[in-house]
Amino acid sequence: MTFLSLARKNAWRKPLRTVLLLICIAVAFLIYALTASFLAGSQGTSAASEDVLGVMSVAGRAQPLPMAHLARIAAEPDVGAATFMTRLRGFVGSEKNVVAVSAVEPQGLMSVNGRELGLTPALIGSLDQGRDRILVGRALAEAQGWSVGQLITITAFQMVRQDGDREWRFEIAGIFEGENESTDTYFAIGRYDYVNASRAKGRDTVDVFVVRPRDGIKASTLAARIDSLFANSAAPTRTQSEKQFLEAFLRQYADIKLIVNLVTGVAFVTLLMIVINTMVFAVRERTFEIGVLKTLGVSGGRIIALVLVETFLIVAIGATIGLVLAKLATVLVGTVLGLAFSPSVLAKATAIALAVGLATGLLPAINAMRTPIIKAFRAR
């Protein structure tokens, strides 16, 4: 036997109470890890690039820009590479099953954004082999159960074909993986020449120009310069980094980060109160026994350590259960929901667990240490 096993035995002496505490702690850490993974994931913004700029209409991203802008953007000396895209948004099967195809010029996209999307020359080559071919992101492919060679039909929300139809048929030419697991791959990449030639309206316009600044050029400076190019034109622009755009996009609905912090904050304050309260009572019940330990010569410091180790054990086990569940969730449905259980989420959760352990253990521990033996013996 050691003092550690003594703490462990103390932790388990009322199994039901301990199990309830574990559930409560596990749920709090599950909530934390899921929301933090959400922020770290592709629906959040941390993985979005700050280096790549998007040039959109000031009137909003649904408003088209003339293709003629491209030449003026490309002529700007600080621009490393520039390309363009138009989004074809629609659904497959049910109307809720929204799918977006970015119609691009493949070589241009490759040079501006190829690394971030995980595009390879082979993928681009297979896209080149047919006008109606598309590349599907890994997340989208897995969610829809699509594979290479499959033919799919997307019903566009707005973009009508010349024949008056809204059904767009594509053949899947390949699957792109994204640079890493937090890259948003829930979309497809198609060919602009095909989409542009087939659509009834808006011919030769684009939704966005994508610009990579030259090495060493600050993205925000270049963004301002590009916007000034078109400030007095018929189609003024707003240029933002992908990250800024995503943040602004999410903020349209709500300040997600604030909500997440509030939810986890409330969960943890509640958790703290429950665990502190339970531990204070659990230790108070043992006042007499702590008096016995002190009589045997166990020092006040050891008594504190004993109670702290007990709470740390409970918090550590509860937190581990919560984090393992969160990890499972991200593995099972993470790509669809845009969750990324990154090492930084794990590190923060560990730090929170330590803080919770200390915060909840300290009060009962100090209570236990300070009760004089004579008083402890009268507690029976």
């Binding site: 036997m1 003092f3 166990v298």
Partner: protein, 231 residues
């Protein structure tokens, strides 16, 4: 007896206050107990027997006067120093055993040894030795809730002597036991005094228990009276 006494109380004053009332228990208590003695302390309820024993155990302190055990002036030591003194110099046996319920017999006995720099193997052999001494070999794995009062008290004695202290303090060790169990416990205490030369101070209400001791002191109104006995 020319040797200096093992335990010396001189002019010890002790009282409690409850609210505004001060309850004096001892005003000037003197006591000397030689090494190797086995003293029974008797007296009416509330006469301060437990208070005295707690002071000897270093878990309570005199308000004034001096209290010396071995080379230690307990009245001058702080709580931390007394705590470590307790770990190495005295063992205590309680009326209600005070075993820890989630530990089995062997673990309860091992507890005080965790405060000493001993290997797990040494701890185990010492625990086995004292459990054998109190006649509980083979019951190492039993939990207190599964044992009789007499058995629990023997675990309590084993726990008190496992770190081999010179001083053994017992507060009504047989107070909760039937006659037969009480006699077994008293026999063990007498044996510890005789063969291992433990100095024992035992508080008791039971005249028969007091007879196991070498002498009996009666505490009344804050003073001791030694009982005369036919030798």
């Amino acid at each position: 007896m020319t040797q200096e006494p093992f335990i010396t109380l001189a002019g010890v004053r002790k009282g409690y206050r409850t609210g505004s009332d001060a309850i004096p228990i001892f005003t000037a208590l003197d006591l000397a107990i030689p090494r190797g003695d086995f003293v029974a302390i008797m007296g009416p309820s509330g006469s301060g027997k437990s208070t005295l024993l707690n002071m000897l155990a270093g878990i309570d302190v005199p308000d004034a006067g001096s209290l010396k055990v071995g080379n230690y002036r307990l009245d001058q030591m702080g709580e931390t120093a007394r705590s470590s003194w307790r770990a190495h110099n005295m063992g205590i046996v309680f009326q209600f055993y005070n075993l820890l319920p989630m530990l089995n017999a062997a673990e309860n006995v091992e507890l005080p040894l965790l405060l000493k720099p001993l290997s797990a193997g040494e701890r185990r052999s010492r625990v086995a030795k004292v459990l054998d001494l109190v006649g509980l070999s083979g019951r190492e794995k039993q939990y207190p809730s599964m044992m009789s009062g007499g058995q629990q008290q023997r675990v309590g004695i084993a726990r008190a002597i496992v770190s081999d202290p010179k001083l053994l303090l017992c507060d009504e060790p047989t107070g909760d036991l039937d006659r037969k169990s009480a006699d077994e416990v008293l026999e063990i205490l007498a044996l510890l005094n005789r063969t291992l030369e433990k100095t024992i101070v035992m508080v008791t209400h039971d005249p028969q228990a007091a007879r196991s001791a070498k002498r009996t002191l009666h505490l009344d109104k804050g003073l001791f009276v030694e009982e005369k006995r036919a030798a």
